[in-house]
């Protein structure tokens, strides 16, 4: 019955709500562009994060509209232009707030999980 810690396919809704803080976390370290962001996420998840890559861009657009990130077209080494994103001060605050929310939800779930386990063990 213990499935915690074993990677399963993550539901669409959960991905949708966690993509923004994950992107903010990456951008907190360095500015990046869409393709690199997706590769980074996939790599860290050990290839388990299965999202349609293109759907990251509408998320980035939404984040840009909310002024969590800002974008700039820059010329890359291969001569092509790439849209680079970097986190804003507002984005930093948002990230802190979202991490707090995730912690809260995680703690809540942990607490709710305990009685269930004890019930099961009876």
């Amino acid at each position: 019955m213990y499935v915690c810690g074993v990677m399963k396919e993550v539901g669409k809704d959960l991905i949708a709500s966690s993509l923004a803080p994950m992107v903010l976390m990456i951008l907190k370290r360095q500015e990046s562009y869409g393709y690199e962001l997706i590769q980074h996420l996939k790599e860290k998840s050990g290839g388990h994060l299965d999202v349609a890559e293109g759907t990251l861009y509408p998320v980035l657009k939404k984040m840009e509209a909310k002024e969590w990130i800002e974008a700039e077209w820059k010329k890359a080494d291969n001569g092509r232009e790439r849209k680079y994103y970097k986190i804003t001060t507002k984005g930093m605050k948002e990230l802190d707030s979202q991490i707090g929310q995730w912690d809260f939800i995680y703690d809540l779930m942990q607490q709710l999980w305990q009685p269930h386990l004890t019930l099961n063990k009876q």
Binding site: Y33, G34, Y35, A52, E53, G54, T55, Y57, P58, V59, K61, K62, A65, N78, R80, E81, R82, K83
Partner: protein
Amino acid sequence: MATSFNIEQAVEKHIAAIASEGNLSPDDIKELAGHLIDSVTILTKQGLSDEEAFMVATKRLGTQQQLVKEYEKVNPTMKVNRIWGHLIFGFATLTGLWGFGKALLIFTYGSALKNGNVTQLSLFWVAAVHLALCLAIGLVIYHKRAIAAFLQRKLQRRPLLMLIIAILLMTMASLAQNFVERNTENDISFFALNKFQSPYVEFTFYLLLSTLFIGLVSMFFTVKNPENATLKRMFSRPSIWFLLVAGFATELLAASTRVLPPHNAAPIAGLYFGAIYFIGAFAISYYNRIGVFKYLCWYGILGLALEMGVGIQADLSRINAGYPIMTPYFVFGLLAGLAGGYIVGRNTKQTVAIVS
């Protein structure tokens, strides 16, 4: 290994297909295309061929529906703006082209009628301009797919620039029209036909009007078909509505042959009249294997009704004025044209053998 696969083109085509359905800004298109190129580049470095890499990269990017749905959420007003952009572009371009066409005709008529005397050469020139305009309309209809694709691409890339060009075109057409109107003799208008007293000028003008009408009709009836509007696509398995409208256009064109000489020679007028129907009936019989008789009935019914109704009325007044009657010749011409087109169309098919 040499391959004809062009990644840049394939990427552009793939993203354009998504953009045509969804609310993507030029910036979004550029970003998605860049992503695909990056993805393909990495995959080819891992040993995949260009085609394979492209297939994998597009699959990873997501389906058209997925992307369209997600972009719709972040660019909700985009589609509305684009529709308005297209409407304004279409309006300005068509008004501009119509204005230039009118300016050209007024200029042509004005220079042909200068000093009050019309020479044979100027008549020839006017008829040639009519025919050239017919040809231009025909070419636009034939290449409608390529033109639409080109305009859509340009409108997606640089919507503002395209709108400015269209509005400039409209303004210039209006200025050109004003200019020629001011610099030609008085009361030379769009319909200065009767001043020429030439059946050829008149007939080519009617031909131009009919081409315009048939052009609009064909655009309407091939709207669901994204390919070029060819005769085959219009005439093979036609709808009843198409046949009625095409029949009406044929009747207008056939009726306009009455201006051609010799005048007061009813049998020859009937022959011209029938010849126009012959062409239409030939096209229907040539492009269809079954149901031709039914198609021809729908095609000819409006013309027959008009000839019988309006024609007999006109004949009654002709009898009163002491002129010979015409209707029997026209009705006979119509029926003979349909029958002739049917017979020749069927027999041509047996030798040419069209396999669709």
